[in-house]
């Protein structure tokens, strides 16, 4: 029995009122708000967050592979899933792959993971899907698009939703695209794209799968598939297939609060459906883009098991309204800005980052075997892996100790107006971890006015530096979401 063992989601904390876009540029405002990845987030960090959410309570060492799906990879050449395996604490002998360039990359990754398990090559595969697409300023896409991520853990035992069947189609249509020199999403006339693409393709793939599986719309509790820019087309497809409105996983909740999250949209809607699913439910699930993938899911009793995950619900509720549209432009580096009058940061040393990848990407410190003190060093001037205990001075007598999933409290802080950061002031905290250990971190996703000594924080994986095309990832603290 192969199916979904766990799921997770991530939505950035910051939300932009779409009316603010219209205020800046004029024109029409789509109602609602969209999620905006903070300046230190990208599809990699959002996927890691969703992955951590999905793996809460699971042993990450039991995962045999990681597929990362996105259309907004920070790299054209260099794998992101290999980077992400370290913060997620996956084993080294796993299969990793990045699946890019199509809006159905998420469902494609799911299909590939499913086949990998079915083929006996793996018992457990983690699929992470995230997108941070951009519409050009002043366009409708800028309002429609939002940022977010989903995670699905596939395996062959204790599944909460068995995957009974799948079906895929390929379709050549340049409906939306981005060449390797485009920063923003481009699209052909939407009527043609919707008429000849979306509105034909999704009925075709879903009816194809139902025919193959011997099922009809009445057999399903839910049908889950991604909407196009015009969400009315979504309802039309469902009706055309014969689904009643009550069976349809409504995309509006996501669209109104987060936006269209690219290849993460369908998986995020699936997460929303699973959050409401009951044992015995059948779910028809599809994702589209240059073709489509569809799946039949059968929910099991295991779905009732309580989980530590925050999920889509938890992330939707935890948010901060952005005060203006300018911040969006600044965080995305869409307008030239006066640089802070500070010295430039030094170039990234890739050899040092490689040497300390476990400490930096994994947030692994040590616990002294002699005095029992947990210790973490954040890659400052001279340190790196701790070799001498800071308390009892024992050398090399340590157990590895992970700080990434530890809660912490603020021991001291400052709001630094002199430091050169994208969104001043630089909120910096010295934190103390539950169970011991202390370290300095940048504080992200924060309201500077609300930072205080004793404030509970948790660790979040972020992009801290960009230099010569290299994204440098590390951890920051954030107020507990």
């Amino acid at each position: 029995m192969v199916g979904i063992m766990s799921y997770g989601a991530y939505v950035p904390w910051h939300r932009l009122n779409r009316g603010d876009c219209a205020k800046a540029w004029g024109g029409f405002a789509i109602p609602g708000e969209r999620a905006v990845a903070y300046y230190d987030e990208d599809s990699v960090t959002m996927a890691v967050e969703a992955g951590m959410d999905c793996l809460a309570g699971w042993d990450p060492r039991s995962v045999d592979g990681l597929f990362f799906a996105t259309t907004t990879s920070p790299y054209k050449e260099k794998q992101c899933s290999a980077t992400m395996a370290i913060p997620l604490d996956l084993r080294r002998d796993i299969r990793t792959a990045d699946i890019n360039t199509s809006l159905r990359a998420g469902t494609t990754a799911l299909a590939l993971a499913l086949d990998t398990i079915k083929a006996g090559s793996a018992n457990c595969m983690l699929v992470l899907v995230a997108d941070e697409r951009q519409g050009a300023p002043a366009g409708m896409l800028e309002q429609q698009i939002g940022d977010g991520a989903a995670a699905i853990l596939l395996g062959n035992k204790n599944v909460i939703a068995e995957i009974l069947g799948s079906y895929s189609m390929s379709d050549e249509l340049a409906g939306t695209w981005r060449s390797d020199v485009d920063a923003f999403v481009r699209a052909w006339e939407d009527r043609m794209v919707l008429d000849e693409g979306y509105s034909k393709l999704l009925p075709e793939v879903m009816s194809g799968l139902m025919k193959k599986s011997g099922l009809s719309p009445k057999d399903f509790s839910k049908v889950v598939f991604d909407p196009p820019g015009d969400p009315r087309r979504h309802a039309r497809v469902a009706a055309e297939l014969g689904f009643q409105p009550g069976q349809v996983q409504d995309p509006y909740a996501l669209f109104m609060n987060i936006g269209l999250t690219g290849c993460a949209m369908a998986p995020m809607m699936l997460v929303a459906a699973l959050e409401e699913a009951k044992p015995g439910d059948k779910i028809l699930f599809a994702g589209s883009g240059n073709g489509a993938d569809a799946f039949v899911l059968q929910v099991t009793d295991a779905i009732q098991k309580p989980s530590e995950r925050r999920g889509l619900k938890g992330h939707l509720e935890s948010k901060m309204a952005m005060s203006n549209y300018n911040d969006y432009l600044r965080w995305r580096n869409l307008v030239p800005q006066e640089a802070a009058s500070r010295p430039d940061k030094q170039h990234i040393r890739l050899s040092a980052l490689w040497r300390e990848r476990k400490q930096l990407l994994g947030l692994w410190g040590v616990k002294c075997r002699r005095c029992g003190t947990p210790q973490y060093d954040n890659g400052a001037a001279t340190t790196g892996p701790i070799r001498v205990c800071g308390v009892c001075l024992a050398q090399g007598d340590f157990d590895d100790y992970n700080f990434a999933r530890k809660k912490a409290t603020v021991f001291s802080f400052t709001q630094d107006n002199l430091a050169a950061v994208v969104d001043p002031p630089a909120s910096v905290v010295l934190v103390e971890f539950e169970g011991g250990g202390r370290a300095f971190f940048d504080l992200t996703d924060r309201d500077p006015a609300k930072v205080e000594i004793g404030m509970p924080v948790e660790m979040t994986f972020r992009k801290v530096h960009f230099d010569r095309g290299i994204s440098n990832y590390f951890w920051k603290a954030r107020p507990v979401r």
């Binding site: 701790i386 400052t414 940048d442």
Partner: protein, 389 residues
Amino acid sequence: MPGSIKDRVAIVGMGCTQFGELWGKGPNDLILDAVNEALADAGIEIKDVQAVWSGTLFSGSGGRTVSEALRLQYVPVSRLENACASGHEAVRGAAYAIAAGIYDICLAVGYEKLKDEGASGLPGMENRTNTHYQSSMPGVFAMMATRYFNRYGLSPEEGKAMLAKISVKSHHNGAMNPKAHLRREITLEQVLNAPIIAWPLGLFDCCGVSDGGAAAILVRADMVKSFPNTPMYIKALQICASPTTGRLVTTYDYTHVEEAYRAGIAAYKEASITNPRKEISMAEVHDCFSITEAVTMEDLQFSPRGGVKEDVNAGTFELTGPLPVQPDGGLKCFGHPIGASGIRMLYEPYLQFRGKAGKRQMKNPKLALAHNMGNEPYAPVVSVCIVGL
């Protein structure tokens, strides 16, 4: 203690440049101007100097920068770098070489051309992985203030008022010092209403970014009679380097600097001082930020732990108080050309002992303490130098 420097080395000449935004001067000017004044003061020529120790963090390369500026004729020159304690480190190198009997006359020179960095603050420090938190130096020290206020139950207003008085006091003194960078008195209101640099530290809680140079001629103590001026003897020179565990372990309170406390203890022992608050006549401490001066008063045992506020309010550290601190204006008014600061701190007692401190002149100072601190409060290198007649 294996050995002691006490009374074995004397300073017989000193020089100090004007500190400030010296757009028209380069590192060579700072070196030459400071050294020329020191040589003239000691009544010697550069050819009499047998060995040189220089301190700079950013503005030099090895010993060559000084050798080149002075056109030294094939004498040994060492460059020492110990972050903001580099100036004292240069003095230490020269003093120890003399005490070891290797040389009779040495030069210690510290300088920094900070204003060539084109930035409002210190240049970037070494950071191999760029995963360091994004805090400036004011921010790092601000976190000590945040914690200090919390630990001793000071409201932000009370805490900031205590720190403001420290800055007002230093500016009062600095206004009387022609070589200081900032020579204007400030009011409590100005300090409290100034823009925040890093909460809770505002503009006047931070020292300036300045250029400067300072130099000292050191000789064997038994040679002082050959020199024209009153000699100033080194009574103690102690450096304490941090194991940098303050940022790793939860036992560090972030309201004191352990290394300053320990360097102070070692220096008092070397100088045979048992009651520093009574015996020390004046102190020049590393007031890179107002909070640094506050906790340093406690670390050096001038004030009890948590009790500096009472001393600040009582005027203990004012020029007319029982223990003047920063009689020359301190880093607050001189700015902090890193390598120069440690030697600049010795220049003031040198003037005071000789009765040449002008409007700032104290009555009969006997012992002075200079305290230099490099790096962050949780991981510093601290030097304490005690000098006297």
